[in-house]
């Protein structure tokens, strides 16, 4: 068995004078979820497009499901499915016609296509809109149809570029469940997202892309610990933070710390334990760039 569904080494891509990807190395273990984070314009979509055979890199080797993207294009395309950042549905056709078209193009017979389309329409809550033109759909409905189309024939590697952008909370949760379900079936998923909570919830590993490089990579917990551990936060009556004290979070440690502070501080002081969240991780890791802009 192969260990990695995606193996990237020394990947470079330049658009005009802009070096968008400046030496990317990345490995995604089979059956895991990788979240790609990064500020707008960091090159997430470009990277996904390269992995899905849409864009040719300037240099670097790229194996998807064990196949070389530049030499075994057809094999790679048989192993992947892409849901791009912008909905890729035929607006003139109805939801059902869209699905059936892709079913037929994926090698299903007419009868199989009909069954599979009905199944997917029901699963993605689109059954009542099956014979409406996709052009009349709301943004979220288009997105759901787009995702349904990507799952016509499950492929070993799934690329999702900002899959939950524009979805309402319920649809987003449903998609999260679906992603985890796909993962449990052994499908490898590479997704990009602007919602850090989403990366935290779904990803086994997170890669942060900035300035053409992967500036950090690891499990959500590893990344959080890189920006510091838990702190004890003390707030005054006006709810302003007056003290931040690093803590292990154990009851003994917290009790000791508080005992010392009790004598110095007014009794209405409020106590809380703060854990770094993905937002802070993201800001910390990409802040250099922000400073450059300012």
């Amino acid at each position: 068995m192969r260990k990695y569904a995606v193996e990237i080494q020394g990947l470079y891509k330049r658009f005009g004078s802009q070096q968008v990807l400046d030496g990317i190395d990345l490995k995604v273990p089979e059956g895991s979820v990788l979240a790609l984070l990064g500020p707008n314009g960091a090159g997430k979509t470009t990277l996904v497009n390269i992995m899905s055979t849409l864009v040719t890199p300037d240099a670097g080797t790229l194996l998807i499901n064990g196949y070389d993207v530049s030499r075994e294009r057809q094999k790679v395309q048989q192993s992947i499915s892409l849901t791009g950042q912008f909905a890729a549905v035929d607006e003139v056709l109805t939801a059902e016609e869209n699905l059936r078209m892709i079913c037929r193009l994926s090698g299903l017979t007419g009868a199989e296509a009909r069954i599979r389309s009905t199944e997917l329409l029901a699963y993605f809550d689109l059954a009542s809109a099956r014979s409406k033109r996709a052009g009349t759909f709301s943004g979220g409905m288009k997105r759901r149809l787009d995702l349904a189309i990507s799952l016509v024939v499950p492929k070993p590697v799934l690329f999702l570029d900002e899959p939950t952008t524009g979805l309402d909370t319920r649809s987003r949760r449903a998609l999260w469940d679906m992603i985890l379900q796909l993962k449990s079936q052994g499908i490898t998923i590479v997704l990009t997202t602007q919602y850090l909570e989403e990366a935290d919830q779904l990803a086994d590993r997170i890669a942060v892309l900035d300035g053409g490089h992967i500036v950090a990579e690891g499990s959500p917990e590893e990344l959080k610990s890189r920006v510091g551990g838990e702190v004890l936060e003390l707030r005054n009556a006006e709810d302003e933070v007056i003290h931040r004290i690093p803590t292990s979070g154990s009851i003994g440690d917290v009790a000791n710390t508080l005992q010392e502070l009790m004598r110095q501080l007014p009794t209405e002081t409020r106590v809380g334990i703060h854990r770094p969240n993905m937002d802070e991780v993201f800001i910390a890791l990409t802040e250099k760039k922000m400073e450059e802009i300012v």
């Binding site: 849409l54 192993s79 892409l82 890729a88 037929r104 090698g107 799952l151 499950p154 492929k155």
Partner: protein
């Protein structure tokens, strides 16, 4: 459940791929009634205009309708083919093209689908225009064989210009821009022998009119339908069409590949 056991997709044959895309484009045509109506109505109106309004002034013998109909047919075919530029530009600027490109199929089939649908659409429009022509007094003298050749020539002409406009649609920045090129083909026939004999034009214009690709096609068609000799024109007519077809095919295929991942 939603995920069936993971298996790589079966390979889709080129024939299936192609027929799926032709079906798609035909559906698009049927749902775009405006473009279809325009492609038929415009030539019909022009024909009525030329036979009833200008006809008397150009040729008072009343025989003008027999002169002008072949030109109108080609105008209709040319203008009709130009709408494929919009279809193609629409696809090239929509995310769906990325989906097709990442599937293990010959994605350029999406373009040939549009081309085949355009051919069907324009042959139909030509039929309608011809029917109206017969109603307003067009009296062709063609025999069965002449008709077969005439239809084949019209089809070749449509195919060549459809591919030309498909290629234009691929390089155009937007569907609106792609649409505006269509008008060029509405005017090209005026600089030919479509409406008046070229010897009535100033000399420099005469040179352009007699050497541009549409003139030999019109003269051949006129010859086939009205029983005149076509020996002088048919070679040029077919040659021009094949040249335009070949150049457009190469240009189109090249642009299609070049635009991968760019919208």
């Amino acid at each position: 459940m939603i995920v069936k056991p993971v298996h790589t997709a079966k390979k889709t044959s080129l024939a299936v791929t192609q027929s799926v895309f032709i079906g798609r484009s035909l559906r698009h045509s049927l749902r775009n009634a405006d473009a279809m109506l325009m492609a038929i109505l415009l030539p019909v109106l022009l024909m009525l205009l030329f036979t009833y309004v200008f006809g008397g002034a150009i040729d008072s013998s009343g025989d003008y309708v027999n002169y002008v109909v072949p030109g109108i047919i080609l105008l209709c075919a040319g203008f009709g083919s130009s709408s494929v530029a919009v279809d193609v530009a629409q696809d090239m600027t929509n995310g769906i093209i990325d989906r097709f490109r990442t599937m293990p199929i010959r994605s350029v089939s999406v373009i040939t689908g549009h081309v085949v649908a355009s051919l069907a659409r324009n042959l139909l429009a030509t039929g309608v225009v011809l029917a109206v022509a017969l109603l307003v007094g067009f009296k062709p003298t063609a025999g069965i064989l002449d008709w077969v050749f005439a239809v084949a020539l019209i089809a070749l002409f449509i195919l060549a210009f459809t591919w030309l406009f498909a290629a234009i649609g691929m390089v155009a920045g937007s569907p609106a821009a792609a649409g505006s090129y269509g008008f060029a083909l509405l005017f090209l026939p005026y600089l030919s022998s479509a409406f008046v004999k070229t010897d009535t034009m100033p000399e420099w214009l005469q040179w352009i009119a007699s050497n541009q690709p549409i003139t030999p096609v019109i003269e051949s068609l006129r010859g086939l339908l009205m029983g005149a000799s076509i020996r002088e024109f048919i070679g040029w007519a077919i040659g021009w069409c094949l040249l335009i077809l070949l150049v457009s095919l190469l240009w189109g295929m090249w642009s299609f590949r070049r635009r991968a991942g760019r919208r």
